[in-house]
């Protein structure tokens, strides 16, 4: 495989191109995804390459966008429906959770819904309360749906391909602040299945389970901690539904201390589920309580000074890991 550096958004875009070239049943639909290539340029070039039948702009009608995907998927196509900002799930939630996710089960297995929803989440852009949220905990609580949050260009490409090839409704949440982040990406088409965690870094003193962009912050923290002689293992679950708890448990049983970090508000965040599962299954291995680091229980504030304080970052991760290691 030839590998070169690509940005996160270019890697995603390459995955879209390749999987659409491979499978004529894949189409893309959403607001300004065709002519404009998506407001984050996630879909640049797709209209030119695949034409207006397969790359379709829509009115501002998120219920109809997702619902159209559900109906087309039930008929065997593989729609990619774009939701632009994750904050917009609220206007389309019924189609996501009551329709797409439940169809297979409530119809007795008679229908599959190979629908992919793409969206962008996360804070740090001074986009304020309605354009900065991380709502993966909601989505992960929906039986029938799968949810991935790529934390590198490699994963952005592999997970969108994995999502589209998956026979279930999936949602891929890109992180807005990572769009320009670069990393190695193979040229070839490859796919990362949902439910397989990535051991981003091996270590022995503590485990950090990091979600989405927090993986990058955890890596910075781990590098600093290493300099201080503290060896941290970083696990990126990649998908929060399904959750690869086995990989997490293996790590925790080795390190005995674990921090879960995410951008969403802590209360009711995905960290609560991860924490609960860890202590349920590795209770006797824990030398300290499973610890969470996440956003405070407030909407995302606009002012940069507040927003910086709001989202966890490497210095705070480092501080919490140190406290975790002090715990007797």
């Amino acid at each position: 495989m030839t590998t070169r550096e690509l940005t996160y958004v270019k890697a995603f875009n390459e995955g879209m191109h390749q999987v659409m070239a491979e499978d004529p049943d894949v189409f893309l639909i959403g607001e300004d995804v065709a002519g404009y290539g998506g407001v984050f340029h996630m879909f640049d070039g797709l209209l030119t390459e695949f034409g207006g039948t397969r790359v379709v702009d829509t009115p501002i009608s998120e219920q109809a966008i997702i619902g159209l995907g559900v109906g087309a998927a039930a008929r065997g196509l593989r729609p990619v429906c774009d939701l632009m900002f994750m904050d917009f799930v609220g206007v389309a939630m019924d189609q996501i959770f009551n329709q797409a996710a439940k169809m297979k089960y409530m119809f007795g297995g008679n229908v599959s819904v190979p629908l992919t929803i793409t969206t962008a989440g996360g804070a740090g852009m001074s986009a304020a309360a309605q354009h900065s949220q991380s709502l993966e905990a909601w989505l992960a609580h929906i039986p029938g749906l799968k949810v991935a949050m790529p934390a590198s260009p490699y994963d952005a490409k592999g997970l969108i391909v994995g999502a589209i090839r998956d026979d279930n409704p999936t949602i891929v949440v890109l992180n807005k602040k990572m769009l320009g982040v670069k990393g190695p990406v193979p040229e070839e088409l490859y796919s990362i299945p949902f439910g397989v965690a990535n051991v981003v870094r091996e270590g022995s003193n503590a485990t950090i389970v990091a979600i989405g962009r927090m993986v990058v912050e955890a890596e910075k923290a781990a590098a600093n901690l290493e300099a201080a002689g503290i060896s941290v293992e970083i696990i990126d679950p990649r998908s929060v539904q399904p959750l690869d708890i086995d990989t997490i448990l293996t790590s925790v049983k080795k390190t005995h201390r674990v921090l879960v970090v995410h951008e969403a508000v802590e209360f009711g965040g995905i960290g609560a589920e991860i924490s609960s599962q860890i202590q349920e299954s590795a209770f006797d291995y824990l030398d300290a309580p499973v610890t969470r680091l996440a956003a405070p229980f407030a909407p995302v504030p606009f002012a940069p000074i507040l927003e910086n304080a709001y989202v966890p970052d490497a210095p705070r991760i480092e501080a919490v890991v140190r406290r975790l290691l002090e715990r007797k």
Binding site: T58, K104, N110, V111, G144
Partner: protein
């Protein structure tokens, strides 16, 4: 009320087969429901039912114009659409009884009947929930160029929910082969139409989307079929969606077969609609025009009873689901 029956008669004559076909669909709906309603009332069957009785001409008229390859989406009041689209009594009763032999293996019940082999893409317990899904089915028709169409059935009340608006506009913009069928029975649950919108004719809403809006007598299956055929042809020609408003009425309460708990409808209103009963009408047409005899109609009623007994028997003797399988089919693996 534009009833193109006469105008179309020359082109699409009312044949004996057609009358029998529509009659059979309607009788099957009516008797299935009356029977199912009783079974729930007596506690023999679990859950609750939204009965379609009274509105049969709409489902029968539209579905008689569709093939199994055409798709429909339905509502909480979905038995009629399923039966009109060709669903069998055995798996329907079995589903209502929550048995493994049911259309949804007992997972869905009354509000989620599905029959993918017949193009019945599912009932839906969320008002308006099925409308965008029909748009998606129509998108697939257009994408594949397979000449099929999709139909979404929904009520007068559903036309006030956001999903309706978004779906019709989207279908119009994308020129999709979908037909939106409003079954205007005058009430959203217990709220009369004049309390939930300021229009007399909901078909007028078509003008918001730049598509044709057609009103039809929803008690006249032939008339419904005719407007459906026009809309289907239009859709197949690539000219986009049509909004059909069928004026109709439900005989039972919003839910169940008992009488009304409160008098939100004038009993005289109910009786007046019953004088225009859809099944009586088709029987009168059949006999008057000398196409079908009263005996032949009676035969359909009898056959339907037999099918119902067979369906109930089948359902009762079918196995219950096993709770160990409770996680099956949450995901496709």
């Amino acid at each position: 009320m534009a009833t193109p029956t006469e105008a179309l008669e020359a082109v699409m004559p009312t044949t004996r087969e057609l009358v029998l076909d529509l009659h059979r669909r309607m009788v099957r709906i009516r008797r299935f429901e009356e029977r199912a309603g009783k079974l729930v009332e007596s506690g023999d069957m679990p859950g609750f039912l939204h009965l379609y009785v009274g509105q049969e001409a709409v489902a029968a008229g539209v579905c008689s114009a569709l093939t199994d390859a055409d798709q429909i989406t339905s509502t909480h009041r979905g038995h009629g659409h399923a039966i009109a689209k060709g669903a069998d009594f055995r798996p329907m009763f079995a589903e209502l009884y929550g048995k493994t032999t049911g259309y949804c293996k007992g997972r869905g019940g009354s509000m989620h009947i599905v029959d993918m082999n017949r193009g019945m893409l599912g009932a839906n317990a969320i008002v308006g929930g099925g409308i965008p899904i029909a748009v998606g089915a129509a998108f697939a028709s257009q994408y594949r160029g397979d000449g099929t169409v999709a139909v979404s059935f929904f009520g007068d009340g559903a036309t006030n929910i956001g999903a309706f608006h978004e779906s019709v506009n989207m279908a119009a913009v994308l020129n999709l082969p979908v037909i939106f069928v409003i079954e205007n029975n005058g009430y959203a649950e217990f709220t009369p139409q004049d309390r939930h919108m300021k229009l007399t004719d909901i078909a007028d809403r078509a003008s918001s989307y730049g598509i044709p809006g057609v009103i039809v007598d929803g008690m006249d299956a032939l008339a419904v079929r005719d407007v459906a055929l026009v809309a289907i042809e239009r859709a197949k020609r690539g000219e986009g969606p049509t909004l059909i408003e069928a004026k109709t009425y439900r005989y039972f309460d919003h839910q169940g077969i008992k009488g009304m708990r409160i008098l939100y409808r004038d009993p005289a209103e109910v009786e007046a609609w019953k004088t225009r009963d859809a099944i009586n009408l088709i029987e009168a047409i059949g006999v008057e025009r000398g196409l079908v005899s009263a005996e032949e109609f009676a035969e359909i009623w009898a056959q339907t009873e037999a099918d119902i007994e067979d369906g109930i028997e089948f359902a009762r003797n079918s196995p219950d689901p096993d709770p160990v399988d409770i996680l099956d089919d949450v995901y496709t693996s």
